[in-house]
Amino acid sequence: MNQLEQQLIDEYQKGLPVCSRPYLEMANRLGASEGDVVSALSRLKQDGMLSRIGPVFNHKKAGASTLAAMAVPEDELAAVAERVNAFAGVNHNYAREHKFNLWFVVTAPDQDQLQTALKEIELSGGYKVMSLPMVKSHFIDLGFKVKWQ
């Protein structure tokens, strides 16, 4: 990863400029050209370093969401995960080391649609869904501090 790519990750996980030429403004601040910034971002995206450039929405204000878990026999896990992933509202689906071994976030436009989605996921997945909606956040998301080697 080159220096500009590292700087972009260090400086712009928050506060992306909202102006007509945001990549130019970023370029000016980092002492690069607009074209360099755009190609660096494009490379980071292509290499899978970024999931996107854009908003992280507040779960509570943006709609309804929950963290859900299933206890699935290990030999069925990949197949169940695939069926769960087929739902558009599912993101961040991980296998974790626990009896509850499949953990995923479900989002929906509102609470009713979220509950419907959870029921459908349970039916399609074939295992009971445990839903653990956020009660309170203690965390202010400022991005992730990468320790460059």
């Binding site: 972009l8 990750i9 712009y12 996980q13 506060g15 992306l16 909202v18 007509s20 945001p22 990549y23 971002l41 980071l44 290499d47 899978g48 370093m49 970024l50 999931s51 996107r52 450039i53 854009g54 908003p55 992280v56 929405f57 507040n58 779960h59 943006a62 709609g63 969401s65 695939e82 769960v84 992933n85 558009a88 509202g89 993101n91 961040h92 689906n93 991980y94 296998a95 974790r96 080391e97 626990h98 509850f100 953990w103 995923f104 976030v105 989002t107 436009p109 445990m130 653990l132 909606p133 956020m134 009660v135 309170k136 956040s137 203690h138 965390f139 400022l142 991005g143 501090k145 990468v146």
Partner: protein
């Protein structure tokens, strides 16, 4: 801006901004809005907290942070706010939420996340956090991830009854 336009803009940006010279103008043209309307709405959403953070969203795993532990804690109700504050102040902690217990199978009410370059580092960080904040008497469990099946932004806005927007998004 009307509600449908707001929803369409949310849908258009939830997967990322386009990598054009004037990304807000690109969005505006797709949505039949002006560049100023798009920029103003995004600014308003940041001001009112609808958008928590606006920028590069990294994938920890590809950046070399392959160990990802969800550390869950069983904390009494009168202490959970305090412990939540302490955990969220730790550098290594990347998320800290209270969630309900689901008895009898799930007895943890505080969730924190630690991303590290390897498992040993994460366990070491957790030991330090536990020690420094006096948390060793609380029951906890560490759920390392061992496979990533899906990772994308929250799809809050779905299936709008308008033509789908097709473009390369970042």
């Amino acid at each position: 801006m009307d509600e449908i336009s707001q929803l369409r803009l949310r849908k258009a940006i939830q997967d990322g901004l386009p990598l054009t010279q004037q990304p807000y103008l690109t969005l505006a043209r797709e949505l039949g809005l002006t560049e100023d309307q798009v920029m103003q709405t995004i600014t308003d959403w940041q001001d009112d907290g609808m958008i928590k953070r606006f920028g590069l969203v990294v994938k920890h795993h590809t950046l070399g942070y392959t160990a990802n532990a969800m550390v869950v804690w069983d904390i009494p109700a009168d202490k959970v706010d305090d412990v939540g504050e302490k955990l969220s102040a730790c550098d290594a902690v990347t998320l800290c939420y209270q969630r309900p217990r689901q008895l009898p199978e799930w007895n943890y009410n505080l969730f924190s996340m630690i991303h590290g370059q390897d498992r040993e580092t994460v366990l070491q960080q957790l030991a330090e956090i536990t020690e420094q904040n006096g948390l060793s008497s609380f029951k906890r469990d560490v759920l390392f991830s061992y496979k990533l099946f899906k990772q994308c932004g929250g799809q809050y806005v779905q299936a709008l009854k308008r033509p789908e927007l097709k473009r390369q998004s970042l």
